[in-house]
Amino acid sequence: MGGCVSEHDGADGTGEWVLLSYRLPREPSTPRIAIWRKLKRLGVAQLSDGLVALPADARTREQLEWIADEAMEADGAASIWLARPAALGQERELVQGMADARAAEYRAVLDEAAQVPAAGMNPLAAIRRLRAELRRIGARDFFPPPERDLAHAAVQALLDPPQTDRPASAAAPRAAQPPKEPS
């Protein structure tokens, strides 16, 4: 199924990445900003100016392909590449950078969750907002950092006080390394 299904080899070798190389006219700025926002939402790694990367799978490739089309419709240029980092260390750096970026987003959720009881906010409204934020972060979290589970637990704890006899969250944490099949 899944069109181009590529695999990350895990610890022993580098995995496949999908790269979008693009160039857009400076003006008008609207399509440039729209594309920048979309890339940010996808959680891409910025390799250099106009070159971004995601772990390759059918979904990430499709997402970047549509953005490539959008760049071309905006009188820009774009191309899609499948590539492997030539050195393992280079990939680790890329993965670490993406995990760090997500960790910062989860920490922001943790900070906000910590302020809810003190600020006397309606916890349900805050929980709804923070859950939506966690879903947005989760969709671009390819290499989950430890902050992920902490943030989820902190938001849930706003609703039910922590109980020791409760089973852990049903969402199994993903391994913090290039997975076999990035999801």
Binding site: M1, G2, G3, A34, K38, R41, A58, R59, E65, W66, A68, D69, E70, E73, R135, R136, A139
Partner: protein
């Protein structure tokens, strides 16, 4: 008429195939290709890069087809919001069904052995979603 799209269908392509068969071409035959170059000469491609029935100006392919074939049924546009959010999740619309539909479609693509099979299953699913929203609109509230 013959229609072609990328293999490994997900929400937008499954919804487009349903839309085409129900509202554009009752005799539609679909083929699934790995590469845009493999689209048969007599087929109309959809939800592929560089074709007119694809993503345009922030719209997903389902919305593009509604525009192109001038389908103004408000229930179809309601479904378009759900498909848009399931496919793009850009929060342009309030569509609480979208994340669930996305998960169901992803799961189906894992257990179905062909794109034809996915369309067989998703046909009644979109029929049901349409009927639900048709009644919701008639009653002015969520139907029982």
């Amino acid at each position: 008429m013959n229609w072609a799209t990328r293999a490994g269908v997900h929400i937008d392509r499954a919804a487009c195939a349903w839309l085409i068969r129900r509202h554009v071409d009752a005799e539609a035959r679909f083929s699934f290709v790995a590469d845009p170059a493999d689209v048969p000469a007599d087929a109309t491609p959809f939800d592929m890069r560089g074709v007119s029935l694809g993503h345009h100006g922030g719209d997903c392919s389902f919305e593009t087809i509604l525009h192109r074939y001038e389908l103004t049924d408000p229930i179809l546009w309601k479904l378009a919001e759900i498909v848009h959010e399931a496919d793009l999740a850009d929060e342009r619309f309030d569509a609480p069904e979208a994340p669930g539909l996305d998960a169901v479609l992803r799961g189906l693509s894992m257990v179905c052995d062909s794109d034809e099979r996915v369309l067989e299953i998703t046909g009644p699913l979109f029929d049901g979603l349409y009927e639900y929203h048709r009644r919701a609109r008639l009653n002015g509230r969520s139907p029982a």
